[in-house]
């Protein structure tokens, strides 16, 4: 049975909490909902950014996702919640 949007959100958050590295590519979330199209997963991940559950980390050429409490910003503060 296909996963609900809430189940996918929970799976993405879980992945972002437990992955060895704090920054994840969008492709890293694809396995959270194998039946869903990549564009749908991207939309859910971006909604999670708006909700404050994830945040963007950008190198300038690539953008990754991270949990706010797992990432340290360049200005020195741990977490940005």
């Amino acid at each position: 049975m296909a996963m609900s949007k809430e189940e996918v959100e929970a799976a993405i958050i879980e992945k972002a909490k437990k992955a060895p590295k704090p920054q994840l590519y969008i492709k890293d979330f694809y396995k959270c909902a194998p039946d869903m199209k990549p564009r749908q997963i991207k939309n859910i991940a971006n909604k999670l950014v708006q909700k404050g559950e994830l945040m963007f980390w950008s190198s300038g050429s690539t953008t990754m996702y991270a949990r706010p409490d797992r990432i340290k910003d360049e200005e020195g503060s741990e977490g940005v919640n």
């Binding site: 590519y25 969008i26 492709k27 694809y30 199209k37 990549p38 564009r39 991207k42 939309n43 971006n46 950014v49 708006q50 945040m55 963007f56 980390w57 950008s58 190198s59 300038g60 050429s61 690539t62 953008t63 991270a66 990432i71 910003d73 360049e74 200005e75 940005v80």
Partner: protein, 426 residues
Amino acid sequence: MAKHDTPMLDELEKGPWPSFVTDLKRQAETHPECWDILGQLELSYEDKITHWKHGGIVGVFGYGGGIVGRYSDVPGRFPGVEHFHTIRVAQPSGMYYSTENLRALMDLWDKYGSGMTNMHGSTGDMILLGTRTENLEPLFWDLTHDLKQDLGGSGSNLRTPSCCLGESRCEWSCYDTQDICYALTMHYQDEIHRPAFPYKFKFKFSGCANDCVAAIARSDFAVIGTWKDDIQIDQAAVKEYVAGNYSVNGGSHKDGDWGPFSLKKEVIDLCPTQCMWMEGEELKIDNSECNRCMHCINVMPRALRPGKEKGATICMGAKAPILDGAQFATMIIPFIEVSKENEYENIIDVIERIWDWWMEVGKNRERVGETMQRVGLPTFLSIMEVEPIPQHIREPRSNPYVFWKEEEVPGGFERDIVAFRKRHAA
């Protein structure tokens, strides 16, 4: 912020050329942080390593692009560049600005940033160089509310689409580049402002094969104007060129001493497919052999014009070197109609077909051109639902580019891959 000794940079002010060092020194009179740019750059020259840290979590709320974080790794010595973030601002289609708009942009940047700009970056947007994190939200508010302009793309987003000036000034434009650029910018707002892909993706729109925005070299998805029918010829104007009564190249080379114009030497002999010849006083073109290089049209614009049945060629996969070397785009769709009547539905269909595939198959940080190269052109064409044609192939007469699949042959066929590989190692 104090001035720094910059003996190596000072060398770059010598000679007859414009110097960014001189520009920075002048800018430092009103924005003292520019002294620290010079100081840090001199240090980089001494150490032979960059002192910029690149990337981070800076941005404006709701956007996942448009701001590129940049920090100094020696902020104690150069506090003016402790934060020095880059802001990308979407340019107007065709880069038309009013002086009022440019002044407003510069005032905004003087207020919140270093005043330094790059007009324009290689993606096409305006680059505002150097501001602090706390200035980002106020700048974004003023930019969007007062100037009614928006940030461009960065990161794994759709990058700011760009186009040539198209039909607004150019008689050769085969479609309205500015309209499609604006329409797709609005259509794909989410993809521009929030990451969507394994890596960056760029659209560029050129009205003709002169390709003034270098779409074929710089974009993952190049829409280049072309025509289906014959080049339009005005034989009377051809005679005027031959007689020397019309300036060649629209007069752009008229100040040099090039001698009298030779149609044979300067047009016919330079045609890459040798598809032109003279019959008496008439210029003839075998249009089936023309590869739309634009040379003859450029040389004799009053005598030759693109055909009447206009559209575009779609080339895909150009990129600068990251994983592999730089590559030009590959022609995938030789002709497609470009019509605002259907809101560019057929172009959008092609774009989304490639995105759906690339988002699934593309590796992290792999441009679509690299994915195409990895899977091979035959596979890519079948994904795009495009029938192979000789023009897809560099040497169609020697490359057996037609591969039959078992289900396409009546009765099918069997093959033993293991036995084949014994004879021909992979």
